[in-house]
Amino acid sequence: MFKRSKDNKIERNQISYHSMRDTSLIRLFILPTIILLVVINVFPLFWSLILSFSNYSAKMLTQWGENPEMIGGVNYSRILADPDMWNKFITTAKYVLLSVGGEMILGFGLALLIQLKFKGREFITTLLILPMTMSPVIVGLMWRLFYNPNWGMFNYLLGLGRIDWISDPSRNLYSIVIVDIWMWTPFVMLLSIAGLSAIPQYLYEAAEIDRASWWSKFRRITLPIVYPILLVALIFRTMEAFKIFDLPMGITGRGAMAPPLIAMHLYNISFVTWKTSYGSAIGYIILIVIIAITSIFIKYLNKAKQ
């Protein structure tokens, strides 16, 4: 063992040759994770960036100079000049707006209701959280059965007749939005409950004394304090909704009549028609768009913190 000096510092010359410093030990334990991250995440990230500037199909034999063949920014210019691709981005934006908007309003609304004291509140909260705990693929397949126009429960319970929610292109985007809202509203609700619980009660008591209205208390106390946590929920949900894949895959499948969502298109390009480099370029454009949107939200989040 080693000795400590009077000021409790380890005397360097006392350190035994067979012992390790904490930092060395930490590095040793972190090393496998770092290696795994580099191999599985970092390398593919850079490799796909290189591929996005080439003409490459993973399906075909790799022959340097031919497959992949470096073609500069051709993939990017083709994507940006393709009106069909813009249509897919617009559809995805519409999906994000509807689903995340719905989740924010409903989630926050539910949180406000759950804050009220009533019998069975804990039980109802647990029930409300259930959809979020399920696997998105299972949820997608389950709702596909609900939506079946011939014998599904959805139309029957709402008395809608035999409406096609799955393969009618004018309607099936909304069917996925409904499921997304059903599944992820509890997430917003949970974060909102956390935010609401942190509001000091004395603020409301003071407002009561001033005879403030409900709306006034909500606007001047509740919303400003919960706002940063709502922004966090917004960031997470926007990021997730923009790259939504599992729900539409389960509900509508990837056929030509499925809603033209960008992540579904990326899958079809990369793993159905095996245009690997073109798919990589689409992936990077999605990444840039998500980073841009998230940066705007984070800017607001930082302002809210201040």
Partner: protein, 463 residues
């Protein structure tokens, strides 16, 4: 304590390594790689095995059952690993790209044979097929479509395993109902019966179509994102006198958008008006579901999915279900043609398999006439000419006569490595007209010609 003894770290690492190697050892014991295990131990344990990869469906179960006979004869175990149809092709393509030896044999889609051959994922079986007389005992059409690439080159990469094609099931009770027969005859001027032409089939669908009472004219494929729409569309195109293109020159203009092809796609559009709601993405499951739930009088599906219709436990109308092959049709040129879309797969030996010798043993056993007969008895669709021609085969299932007829009229999709891109663009262009009702058949096919010429051009076929 701020410092930890080096000995403790060494101890942790050593224990971890011992655990990892022990687990690895256990894994090897459970599934020994035959080239690593000592032959004596292997023989004693009877642990030689091969793995076959196929889609998840009843024929794969039949194949595993059939292969028990091979295990009994040779002691070599056979596992048939199944992947759902939705990701079947993607999965084996991904494994082959990685040069995986997870499977020794792949029972792959016929249209993927070019991709697999060109990229060297399948072993060239040409000499083996000639040596074992497969070219003489199996039907020539099955060898061409399931095994040969390029077509007509005499180079084979598979052994026809499951012959399959699109055919029809119908409700005999509804077709034979005197009231229906009288009403049909008065409306269309001829007798209701098994359709003898595509035109008649449409009349029958229209006659039965009664959406207000939850009954629809026909259950056919929409677009599932793979090949469902393309398979139904291609048989319409061929039957009306069109072509998908010239498979040897890759010319498509004037063929894919010919008068016959346009008539075929217009027909598909007209027939699609009589499907139940929600059929835009329908495949085998939806068509079978519609039939067994009694909401359609007839449905089109791959024959390999017909066992569910013949089984009284899964189809309450099984006793009243009849089957027929795709009917003939006169095209705009007045010539009558009869075609069905090919399904089914061939069995290929994987280049990266470390047990190719065992895989060849299995193939050798599989092509024997007695194995083929047993294969047919279990429910598999043999392509062995002798078994197919036997009366015994025709009596195995109520739909085997329909299968035999379908085998005489089938034709396949493109088999070049770009087949998946062709499928995707074709499905998008045609679904936009047939399912979504946008534009005309001519516009859809002209767009497809444009897309395909771009794909073939990029692949260098026109250089």
């Amino acid at each position: 304590m701020k410092k930890v003894s080096l000995w403790l770290v060494i101890l942790v690492i050593t224990v971890s390594m011992v655990a990892v190697f022990s687990l690895n050892g256990c894994k090897k014991e459970a599934a020994p790689a035959e080239e690593e295990a000592a032959p004596a131990e292997e023989a004693a344990a009877g642990e030689q095995f091969i793995t076959i990869h196929w889609a998840q469906w009843a024929p794969a179960d039949y194949l595993e059952k059939l292969s028990k006979g091979f295990t009994a004869e040779t002691g070599i175990k056979v596992t048939v690993e199944q992947t759902p149809w939705e990701t079947f092709v993607q999965k084996y393509n991904t494994e082959m790209i990685a040069h995986s030896d997870a499977w020794d044999i792949i029972v792959g889609d016929s249209q993927d044979i070019g991709n697999m051959a060109v990229n060297g994922h399948y072993v060239d079986l040409t000499d083996w097929i000639i040596e074992h007389g497969v070219d003489k005992t199996f039907t020539p059409a099955s060898l061409t479509y399931f095994a040969e690439y390029p077509k007509g080159a005499g180079k084979y990469y598979a052994v026809p395993c499951e012959g399959d094609g699109l055919a029809w099931a119908y409700r005999k009770d509804l077709f034979g109902d005197p009231d229906n027969m009288a009403a049909f005859e008065s409306e269309y001027g001829y007798e209701l019966g098994v359709p003898t032409s595509w035109d008649m089939l449409k009349d029958v669908a229209e006659f039965f179509h009664d959406p207000d009472n939850g009954f629809y004219g026909v259950a056919i494929y929409g677009d599932n994102g793979y090949d469902s729409l393309a398979m139904f569309a291609e048989q319409c195109i061929w039957s009306f006198g069109g072509e998908l293109g010239d498979y040897s020159t890759y010319e498509v203009d004037g063929l894919l958008n010919s008068e016959g092809a346009i008539a075929g796609i217009e027909y598909y559009y007209d027939l699609f008006k009589f499907v139940p709601p929600g059929f835009g993405g329908a495949f085998y499951l939806e068509t079978n579901d519609a039939f067994v739930s009694g909401i359609v009088p007839m449905s089109c599906n791959y024959l390999a999915f017909f066992p569910g219709l013949a089984n009284e436990e899964t189809n309450p109308y099984a006793a009243d279900t009849g089957y027929f092959a795709c009917p003939p049709q006169k095209g705009p040129d007045g010539v009558e043609r009869q075609f069905a879309a090919l399904g089914g797969q061939g069995a290929s030996v994987v280049t990266y398999s470390k047990k190719q010798d065992l895989a060849f043993k299995w193939l050798e056993w599989f092509v024997k006439p007695e194995t083929q007969l047993e294969w047919a008895r279990l429910g598999g669709y043999t392509c062995n000419a002798e078994v197919l021609a036997s009366d015994e085969f025709l009596s195995f299932t109520p739909y085997n006569p329909t299968f035999k007829k379908t085998m005489e009229i089938f034709k396949d999709w493109w088999a070049c490595p770009e087949y998946d891109e062709l499928l995707r663009t074709f499905s998008e262009d045609i679904a936009n007209y047939v399912v979504a009702g946008n534009g005309t058949a001519e516009e859809a096919l002209n767009k497809c010609v444009e897309d395909w010429e771009e794909i073939f051009g990029a692949a260098g076929y026109y250089d």
